[in-house]
């Protein structure tokens, strides 16, 4: 099957040169093994992520979103978009967002000099693994209702509570955590932003098994956990502002256009391999039109991403309309997983979770590409729930854009 062209971005000669440079770098530094794992959804382990992130660091490309003075690349928004797309299409593991994309901008904007000097270089070098202590069993969409409490005792906060849905807490040595430090005023006004050392007494990480059989998320129980005052970012009771700042940041990348393009290519490859009615599934008109529908949605999504990026170039940060990117982005991602599960027909049924782990080398059941597809379909239902559910995103747009 010849490589199909999803309508290419119209790039300037400099941008084309940049694209080629990124493409070559990714091709040189991503092994076939890692590419396959990223594309098929087989489990990447800590070393897979770290080795790639270290290579990016050595190239100076680990933090495209950071200001240059902190180690950022100084790229234009279009270059950042090209970089994301080439990494995704080359099968590079996504850079773990918690350190580079989430806590770092908050430390840069609101942290002490000591925090900047200590944490930021370590984040660049992937020396720390971060996780995000936000959600609680009683505080999902209503995050401001959180109840994990931090009480000042001398030079330390004593923290008690439970965080849930904490991705990768089993690997993390640090957690950025929203805690309640005051009951006065509105609920948002009593929240602080703490950096918690995960490797200390009182911190218990308990895996949560999700419907696809994986344990990528966790409960984190905090019992009398000591957090030194120096580990508070910014002012006490201003944590909600910092959290909102973080959510608004890098909104365009949550659309994951590059990744969806790569998954769409994968779908077409699989549909070409599936025998169907004496031909291949890709030649079935109904299936082709379903692919067309998603591809068109993806083009529309990318177009809005580019519009918002170009406004960023002019110095305007992404406004609340960027919530559309999250909604549509996750709908496109989920739509592709639906077509993938349809594409493999009967081989959606066998469930061999071990086959997605490192070191499994038995014969696949059915085609090699089949094993991860149904689990991935079920796993990806999270996308419309996390990061601010799509319902919350619509509320944001309704209020902040349409004035309801």
């Amino acid at each position: 099957m010849k490589e199909s062209k999803i309508m290419d971005l119209i790039l300037t000669p400099e941008e084309e040169k940049f694209r080629d440079e990124v493409r070559a770098f990714v091709s040189k530094n991503i092994t076939d093994d890692i590419r396959k794992k990223t594309m098929t959804g087989f489990r990447l382990d800590k070393e897979d992520h770290e080795s790639w992130q270290k290579k990016l660091y050595e190239k100076g490309w680990i933090a495209p979103g950071w200001p240059v003075e902190y180690g950022g690349t100084g790229w234009s928004p279009m270059q950042k978009h090209i970089f994301e797309e080439e990494c995704a299409s080359g099968g590079a593991p996504p850079v773990i967002a918690f350190g580079v994309t989430m806590v770092a901008p908050v430390i840069m904007a609101f942290g002490s000099d000591h925090q900047k000097e200590y944490y930021l270089p370590r984040i660049l070098k992937s020396e720390d693994w971060w996780c995000q202590g936000y959600s609680e069993p009683g505080s999902g969409s209503d995050l401001a209702s959180l109840r994990t409490r931090a009480v000042l005792d001398g030079d330390n906060y004593i923290v008690n509570g439970q965080k849930t849905w904490t991705s990768l807490a089993q690997h993390a040595n640090l957690m950025f955590c929203l805690v309640r430090t005051s009951d006065e005023g509105k609920r948002q006004e009593g929240i602080s932003f703490l950096l918690v050392d995960m490797n200390q007494p009182g911190v218990t990480v308990q895996p949560i098994k999700t419907i696809d059989g994986s344990t990528e998320v966790n409960n984190v129980f905090l019992e009398d956990v000591k957090v030194p005052i120096e580990n508070r970012v910014g002012e006490e009771n201003k944590g909600w502002t910092y959290a909102k700042y973080l959510l608004g940041h890098e909104r365009t990348s949550i659309a994951a256009v590059g990744r969806s393009k790569a998954q769409l290519r994968r779908l077409k490859t699989i549909a070409s391999a599936e025998e169907h009615d004496g031909s291949a599934l890709i030649n079935d008109q109904v299936f082709r039109e379903k692919i067309a529908d998603i591809e068109i949605d993806l083009l529309a999504l990318e177009s809005l991403v580019l519009r918002i990026l170009s406004e960023e170039s002019a110095g305007k940060g992404p406004g609340p309309e960027a919530s559309f990117l999250k909604i549509k982005g996750t709908e496109v991602q989920q739509g592709i997983t639906e077509l993938l599960i349809e594409a493999i027909g009967n081989y959606a049924h066998p469930f061999i979770p071990e086959s997605m782990e490192k070191g499994w080398n038995e014969e696949p059941i059915g085609p090699e590409y089949a094993a991860s597809i149904a689990p991935h379909y079920f796993n990806w239902r999270k996308a419309s729930i996390y990061g601010g559910s799509n319902e919350i995103q619509k509320n944001i747009i309704a209020k902040a854009v349409l004035g309801f």
Partner: protein, 377 residues
């Protein structure tokens, strides 16, 4: 055509509902999944005692002579609890193939024992490259004296590892996708040359890839007419589709109830999230999807015992399309309305979502049946 249960059907439904409520809660089911063979043999004996295995089997073979609608009633109730015992394999597929296409001696040999819960059957028909095309058969059976020698690969054979007999389709003539030239064989599961690779399915059942390597079958174990098995296979699979839709109707019912219950109780922003009109409307859509799918399923079940083959095909495909669409909506929305909790393995909703998704993905998905229906509009 009747759309309300008869007295007997009501009794059957209540009895099966009681079983699920009293003996098949979520935790119990979880333990059962992990047992050898993936189901509880005590439950199977109980089903036999209750006459459920005998239900669709003709009276002269130890059965109760129940209709497809009767069986749908039972399966809907079992679907409410996501019961994993191999009813679809042994009774809906295996026993029905014997019933409609077996010789007298074969029916007498197997059916009473199946009805008593003493014999388990699995239908080995799907193949690695067949997708949903029922006549795509590469497994070959060649005549050698009084025997046939069977070679080939079968895929997604439900409950193969616990079956006493496989009913295997093989090509005795013709090309890969020809409708003619397919023959059914009854093969003991411990026959030499049979190899199983067994696995759990993502929705909690058990299946296997089956390799047949020069498996010798006596010609007396041919089931039905030589070369002409396709009509029986089509008929049985069509009926199985409707009964799968019935099981799905039960699963949808529970999924809707779980979701409504969840959003009525889950509080955020100082109130139950079920108080938000947007979520109420979405819960209503879920309920409607269940109601329409269920009604069409029972209509199709009624058509199974009456119609000619093209009316039957329309009824089956309509029901399977409706079920596939409704199941997807209910499953996906069920998870979404549960929020993060819906993603956890601990909550039942995800298990209902997975079963509904997999019922769509067996014996033809929405696209397959939509196309089939479109050919007969």
């Amino acid at each position: 055509m009747s759309f309300t249960f008869t007295e007997d059907q009501k009794l059957l439904s209540d009895s099966a509902d009681r079983f699920v409520l009293d003996e098949y809660d979520f935790e119990t089911r979880r333990k059962i999944l992990n047992q050898d063979g993936g189901f509880d043999k005590k439950n199977w004996s109980k089903f036999a005692e209750l006459g459920w295995l005998a239900l669709p089997i003709a009276e002269e073979y130890g059965g109760l002579g129940g209709s497809t609608v009767d069986t749908a009633v039972l399966l809907e109730a079992l679907g409410r609890g996501l019961v994993v015992e191999p009813y679809q394999s042994s009774i809906v597929l295996g026993a029905e193939l014997l019933q409609i296409t077996g010789k007298e001696e074969q029916k007498k040999q197997y059916l009473p024992s199946v009805a008593e819960g003493k014999t388990l059957l699995s239908f080995a028909h799907i193949e690695p490259t067949s997708r949903f095309n029922l006549s795509h058969i590469k497994t070959k059976a060649s005549k050698e004296g009084d025997c046939y020698v069977v070679n080939g690969e079968k895929a997604i054979v439900y409950n193969a590892e616990t079956a006493d007999f496989f009913i295997v389709s093989a090509r005795t003539e013709g090309d890969v996708s020809d409708q003619a030239g397919i023959t059914l064989f009854v093969i003991p599961s411990n026959s030499e040359g049979i190899k199983l690779r067994s696995y759990p399915t993502i929705d909690g059942l058990r299946a296997s890839e089956l390799t047949l390597n020069a498996v010798k079958v006596d010609q007396k174990d041919i089931l039905g007419p030589l070369h002409q098995a396709m009509p029986a296979i089509q008929q049985v699979v069509d009926r199985a589709c409707v009964l799968l839709c019935a099981e799905a109707a039960g699963a949808m019912d529970t999924a809707v109830k779980l979701t409504v219950d969840y959003i009525k109780n889950r509080e955020q922003f100082g109130q139950a999230i079920g108080s938000f009109q947007v979520l109420q409307h979405r819960a209503v859509e879920m309920l409607g999807a269940k109601d329409f799918s269920r009604a069409l399923t029972y209509r199709a079940a009624g058509a199974m015992d009456q119609s000619n083959s093209s009316e039957r095909a329309r009824a089956v495909s309509a029901a399977k399309v409706e079920m596939g669409r409704s199941g997807k909506l209910i499953g996906q929305e069920g998870i979404q309305l549960h929020g993060g909790m819906g993603m956890t393995d601990d909550m039942p909703i995800g298990h209902f979502f997975k079963r509904l998704t997999m019922i769509d993905a067996i014996f033809g998905n929405v696209d397959f049946h939509r196309k089939r229906f479109a050919q007969i509009i």
